[in-house]
Symmetry: C2
Subunit: 338 residues, 2 copies
């Protein structure tokens, strides 16, 4: 039998913080483009369109001697039953032996690594003098993206939150969002310095922004290409899935484009529509290549840059392994035999 | 947090038996062809060709309100380290909520369900008066296939074991095999009634057999089409993988052919070479359709029939769920929170 570590929801929440998430996700991107590490094909299954579906994401990180997978499901029907909408479970293995090493609740890991990705895209591709950030969406991805960008780019002064698909109660939602962002920053002993405000005028907000993070499950563009000023950076986060679209496909024609994983982005990412409609036929590279200095990324303050982040399991894997190491030191979680 | 059941290697071994495996696998095949149950795409990753590779197999069984996956790795390097060559870990989920329900060591489940599949193929497609079985291979798949066919088809009188790729110590290996078959039959309070002998003459053995079960990791045909007599049934078991081949592709031209999963068999099964070389362009159906009486299967005592079994996760899932139910009744395994 094999001894494995189990980290449940509470264990993970007691171990995680956004600075660690950003370091781990940068590492994962670096590994992807410099070692024999791979994203394996994504499995997507839909029980009920836009109500209940699930992904299986998997891959290996050679620098961590690990491979693994996570199963993440989204089920709107669970809300009525007072059950969590998102369930996310990860299994990790030793890539030297093939033996399992850990079972980890990856719900918070998914949220933190997604926010970290949005911030890393901006840190490496946005203008260094960026001050104004627009977040489209006010859910969990928005929350973690704001927290991450405030940590990764302390020069940010203003965060504007738009939610064009549903403005109901936006002011209250953003108030809650701000308090939740502070809770995440608390884990790193940091305080919000930027203003965080809501806006119902997305056109105006796009025009004022240096960085735009899209964080909705939209299947229709919410941002017209004509609104986008020179020098803008986009981190497109909203879940990788068939038909996902948050920004005007025409934007891609004007932009320098990086993916987290090229194949997955072409299939399920923000860029899928631009490819399908032959607006573009290639991209500039992967974010890992920019982090590794293998590719330049932004070439001037006038470039529009796009980071298409569909989310890769390597992000979860790197962060989970960091947490497992921390758990061993702090004696958190249980060991079981399998 | 969510409570899940953990069944480790010892727990599973104390719960499993071949009669249960046969019932569960038949159910899985039935479900696949009569409910909204699906085999999801197989992920295959190779660390070292023929030395260390792994599969992720997944799918859903609607009749069991479940979905899940298993990760199974084969690592020859582990033998030197005194670690198990095969590691197999399964995760099971409730398909109404998406929540995880169980973590199960599926090494024995994989072995039992594979043997069960070989026997089910023969039970539904071989001649009812079949007496002589040839097993090609003398590893774990051979062991479980013999045990299963002796249970599923008590009319079997003779089992011949050939291992043309490696005849070294065959007599001793078959002696061990016989004693291991009895250990599996013990779980069902049954005794071996058939003779189990070895043969180094595969041509002669093929000519004498009513049922041939291939159970090797071969990538090259070991059985010439000219040796095969009218009325023979094949259950081709050796692991689904790129380039897998155990029997002459020309056999397919003469045969009635059933798959466990058509797509997976065309891609990774025994029939892949016959399809690639345009020897056949279609098959007769899936084994589930025969079990459900939706398709006829064998039409006369002269037909050659082939069951191509690449192995589908639905087999593991059905058997794992049966064992979990039994474990709850017998208070076996532990419950943990994730």
């Amino acid at each position: 039998m094999t001894k494995i570590k189990v980290l449940n929801e509470n264990d993970v929440n007691s171990l995680i913080d956004m600075e660690l998430a950003i370091r781990a996700v940068e590492n994962a991107y670096r590994e992807k483009n410099s070692t024999n590490s791979h994203v394996w094909p994504l499995i997507f299954y839909e029980y009920e369109h836009n109500i209940f579906d699930l992904d299986i994401r998997s891959g290996n990180l050679d620098g961590y001697n690990s491979f693994g997978l996570k199963v993440i499901s989204y089920n709107e029907n669970n809300l009525k039953k007072n059950l969590p909408k998102v369930n996310a479970t990860g299994l990790i293995f030793n890539s030297i032996t093939g033996q399992p090493t850990a079972l980890v609740n990856v719900a918070s890991i998914t949220a933190f690594r997604t926010g970290a990705a949005a911030a890393i895209g901006a840190k490496y591709l946005a203008r260094k003098d960026s001050k104004n950030v627009l977040i489209v969406g006010c859910g969990n991805v928005a929350l973690h993206s704001i927290a991450a960008i405030l940590i990764a780019m302390p020069q940010i002064e203003n965060v504007i939150v738009c939610n064009p698909k549903n403005n109901t109660g936006l002011v209250e939602k953003v108030k809650k969002l701000k308090s939740d962002v502070q809770s995440i920053l608390d884990l790193s002993n940091k305080t919000i310095k930027a203003t965080i405000i809501s806006s119902e005028n997305i056109e105006e907000s796009v025009k004022e922004s240096d960085i735009i993070i899209t964080a909705t499950p939209s299947e229709k563009s919410m941002i017209k290409v004509d609104w986008v000023k020179e020098g803008t950076h986009f981190s497109c986060m909203g879940g990788g899935m068939p038909n996902k679209q948050e920004i005007d496909s025409e934007t891609f024609k004007k932009a320098i484009i990086f993916a987290d994983d090229t194949k997955q982005c072409i299939e399920n990412g923000e860029m899928q529509t631009a490819f399908r409609n032959s607006i573009i036929s290639s991209i500039d590279g992967e974010i890992g290549e920019v982090i590794l200095n293998q590719k330049k990324g932004r070439t001037s303050d006038k470039d529009i840059t796009i980071f298409d982040s569909t989310g890769i399991f390597l992000q979860d894997l790197a962060l989970a392994i960091e947490l497992i190491e921390k758990a061993k030191l702090e004696n958190i979680g249980i060991d079981i035999e399998i």
